[in-house]
Each structure stands twice: as structure tokens, then as C-alpha cells.
Symmetry: none
Subunit: 290 residues, 2 copies
């Protein structure tokens, strides 16, 4: 396929050059775009009241070698469209916006909602369970951009529990840690595209030793998900847009909050009030941030 125009646009341009029956197909396609194109040739032909070959000729005029290629293209298009209706994977659109921050926040909000809507509950609960279990030892591992998130999660976990280690530095040094791991260890991996081979290797080795692998990734799912016990996927942006890790951080934050709520159970309410009061009264205290 030549350019970046949508198939629908392409079809509209081509429309006047089409034969009468081909137009019938075109109309059906545009009227129920893109769903109609995802049906079989026979179904589409029936809808348009034409024969299969006619459909095929139209597809071929659109520049596709096969109906399959056409459908693949449609699906790709659809995927992008469903991901971010606000911003059409076009950074320039944000630029012209009078209020960059507002539209940016709106977009992230949307991504966050998508993230939450797509996340299976058992996955989330499973992660919280595993991280909350005292008997387990926790190991954290992040990629270049996600290591800060691993560090962030590490800090918070350390508040709640013992046996939390953030793996840093060169991969080779992790081997020592790895050999000692067993079924009471939990390896938390952050891996977003482009995915990191090293993470997969380590995850595979860990999984072989019955280590529970938890994965934080993007909606395209790192290959690590194949060996992971639980996977939390965040929607991080459209394919050609600028990625954001904020939805991923939402997940991290939510896990932390869930852990806190669970662990502190009854006293959390009281703690809340105390916290709120302290904030309202203002504070003269010092020390590092928390």
C-alpha cells in the first residue's frame, strides 16, 4: 500500500472510476466502515448484492494483492483509531493547540481509562497478593526508561515489607541473585517496547526455577508475558505518537495503594485523618520527602 491515507479516503477518491457494481460494494463498505470489510468476501458480496469476484476486483483496484492483505490493513487502521480518538497519532495536532497541557492531560486521562478498562481484575489482585505475601522475596528489574518506575515501586514496597531488592547495574551481576531464587521469589519486570531481550532471558530462567514473574508492560505486551505469571498492561500511546509512561505509573501506584489498604486494614482510616490534619495544620518538620 502506497501512502498513509486511510483506506476509506482512498476508496472515496477512487469511487468515480469504479464500475456500477463495484460502487455498490464501495457504498456498503463506506456505510459500515470498517466492519463490513472485516467480513468474508461472500458476506460482503451478499450485503452489496454482487458476486465475490466483484468484491475482489474492487479490492484489487484499491491496490491490494489479496483480500487478506486488505483486511490486515483495515485492522491496523482500526487499532489506531480505537486507541486514541482524541489525537490522531499526529504530534503536530498538539502543537497547534492553544492549550497544550489541557489536551495532553485529556489524552493521558483517556489512556488511563483504557488501561483500567482492559485490565483483568484477577491479574491485578494476583499481583497484589504476591507482593503482599511476607514469605516471598521480591526482586525488581526495569529497562532504561522504566527503571525509575522499578525504583519507585521498590521504595514503596520497602515501607510495607522486608526482602525487597532492586536489581541495578550490569545484567551479569544478577546471575548471583538468580541462582538462589526459587518458588518463594517474585521477580517484577518492567518491559515496554522496544522490548529488551535481556529481560526475556532473565524471565525465562527465573520462570524455570518456579519464580513468579510479574510483568508491567504496554498494551502490545512484552514477550516476557509468555512466561509471566501475571501481566499488567498499560496503554501508553498510539504507535506513532509520543509514548507516555504515566498510565504505567498509575498501575504501580494503584498496586502500592492496594497493598497499603490491605495491610493497614482497619487503622488506615485513622491514619488518613491524622495525615489530613497534619497537612492542614502546616508543618515545621524537615527531612526527606515522603
Amino acid at each position: 500500500m502506497s501512502n498513509s491515507r486511510s483506506i476509506a479516503e482512498e476508496l472515496r477518491v477512487l469511487f468515480e472510476t469504479l464500475t456500477p457494481t463495484e460502487r455498490k460494494v464501495g457504498r456498503v463498505l463506506l456505510a459500515n466502515y470498517p466492519v463490513a470489510g472485516l467480513e468474508t468476501i461472500a458476506q460482503l458480496a451478499l450485503r452489496a448484492d454482487v458476486s465475490g469476484p466483484t468484491v475482489l476486483r474492487l479490492i484489487s483496484k484499491l491496490g491490494f494483492d489479496s483480500y487478506t492483505a486488505f483486511q490486515t490493513s483495515l485492522r491496523d487502521e482500526l487499532e489506531i483509531r480505537l486507541q486514541s480518538p482524541l489525537v490522531r497519532h499526529d504530534p503536530a495536532q498538539l502543537q497547534g493547540d492553544s492549550d497544550f497541557l489541557v489536551s495532553y492531560a485529556a489524552r493521558i486521562t483517556q489512556l488511563m481509562q483504557e488501561t483500567v478498562a482492559h485490565l483483568p481484575r484477577v491479574e491485578f489482585d494476583g499481583v497484589v497478593d504476591l507482593l503482599g505475601e511476607r514469605k516471598n522475596r521480591i526482586w525488581l528489574l526495569g529497562g532504561r526508561l522504566t527503571d525509575p518506575l522499578a525504583a519507585y515501586l521498590c521504595h514503596h514496597l520497602k515501607v510495607v515489607r522486608a526482602d525487597v531488592v532492586h536489581l541495578r547495574g550490569v545484567p551479569s551481576s544478577w546471575a548471583d541473585s538468580l541462582v538462589d531464587m526459587g518458588k518463594h521469589d517474585v521477580l517484577v519486570i518492567f518491559d515496554i517496547r522496544r522490548y529488551w531481550d535481556g529481560a526475556l532471558h532473565i524471565a525465562e530462567m527465573a520462570a524455570q526455577r518456579k519464580v513468579s514473574v510479574l510483568l508491567f508492560t504496554d498494551q502490545w505486551l512484552s514477550p516476557v508475558s509468555r512466561v509471566a505469571r501475571f501481566t499488567l498492561a498499560a496503554h501508553t500511546a498510539g504507535p506513532s505518537g509520543w509514548d507516555t509512561n504515566t498510565p504505567l505509573m498509575l498501575l504501580v501506584d494503584a498496586v502500592i495503594a492496594a497493598l497499603n489498604t490491605r495491610q493497614w486494614g482497619a487503622i488506615s482510616d485513622r491514619l488518613q485523618e491524622v495525615e489530613a490534619m497534619r497537612a492542614r495544620l502546616g508543618e515545621g518538620s524537615s527531612r526527606a520527602d515522603e
Copy 2:
């Protein structure tokens, strides 16, 4: 599939009763819903790294007699959804306060909106200007919990420009850097409560030397804001009294995005060089995620 629940919901409900490999399929399906389900069994199986029959077993558990029936149902659902573009994910999905994750996300979303609503535009633009100015040198500094955010911003800035340094380790070692700073330096500080005296001292010393201090903080404003040239405040009071840094990350992300869109032309060359170098440095050893 007798009832009116969406297939995605159905799948989420069923999730915990699924076998491990079936869950893999479920994850892929939910992460790329509904497009993944419109592919062939073989394609879907490949994505999820399982066999065809496993996909089929899942579909059957969902109550479909055949894969074709499943796809038809998906398409019908999609058609309805596309007709009313405003209702993107059925609201029912987002309702139900019983669900921790959903209500948590809702709270954070609100905090983000508050954050954006309260943030003066000139502050935001000022930060972007300063960070985008090539002549300036950038120094980053974070607190215990916010250092990951500093690291995150640092990574992204390095993609866009030179002269970016993340100050790590013990405060005393920063003195060397500090004495060299002048009016062409920008010191980015992350400080949320409880505020850190060290940050204030450094900020004061820097300000005296005409260094531009940029502050990322919470809505109660770190004392650093008194000497800061620009302050970006995020609303961070999370549910259950536990703070969340997600809105802060939103700001960081927004700044990065603004920088990227603003000077896209200039960046792209640099980006290519960086990419090329990274590739040359070998893919086996380096952490590749991005």
C-alpha cells in the same frame, strides 16, 4: 452468548476460571480489543504464543459454538460501538465502586484534572522554554521518592539535548557542580512533602548564583518555591490518604511532550544519531526499552 454483556466483560468475569495458557490468549485479546479477535486463529495463537486449539477452547468457554460465531459477535459489537463514538467504553465497565482499581483510577484522574486546572500556563511554558534552550546546562535533583522521576526526566532530556546531568549520591559531592553554575544553568528540583531541607539549601545557593531553579512539587508547595523561578505543582493527595506521584509524572510527561513537539525538527536528526550509536553499541548488552 445469550446476554447483553460485552464479550470483553464476559472474558474478564471468566478470567479466573481459565487455565494458564488460556489466560495468555485472554490477555492478548483484552490488550488489543477487539482487533486481535478479528484475526485468524493462527494469528491470534501466534501472538499469545499458544496453539490453535487453546484459542478455540477459550472461545468455546466464552460460549461460542465456533470461532466464526465469535468473530461475528465481535463485529456486531464493534459496529455498535463505532456508531456512537462518544461512548467509547461502556460506562457500566467503569462503574461499580466495589472495584478498587476503577475507583482508584477515578480519583487519580480527578487529581490530574485539578492539577492541570490550577497550573498557570506561563509557568508551564516557562519551564519548557528553559529546558529547551540549548545554551543552558540542566541539572536534575530528586528526593527519596521523587528521584525516579528525576531520572525519568533526565533520560528523556538526554534524547533531546546535550548538557543534562542527574545529580546522584551524597549531597556533599554536588558542591563541585554547584560552584561552576551560573546564569546559564538550570537546576530542576523535585521536592514533595515532607520537604527536604537539603533541597532548600541547594536551591538557595543556586539561586544566589543566578541559576534558574525549576521546581516540581505538590500542591502545598515546597519551600524551595520561594527561590524557584518556575514552580509546577501537582495535586498528589491520593485516596486512602496515601500520596500518589502519578499527577507529578503527568507534568513531567507533559513537559517532555511539549519539548518534543516544539522542536521536533531539530530533534529528529539528533534522535537518529543517538539511535545509530545505540545500535552500534550492541544490542546484547544494552537495555533497550523505550
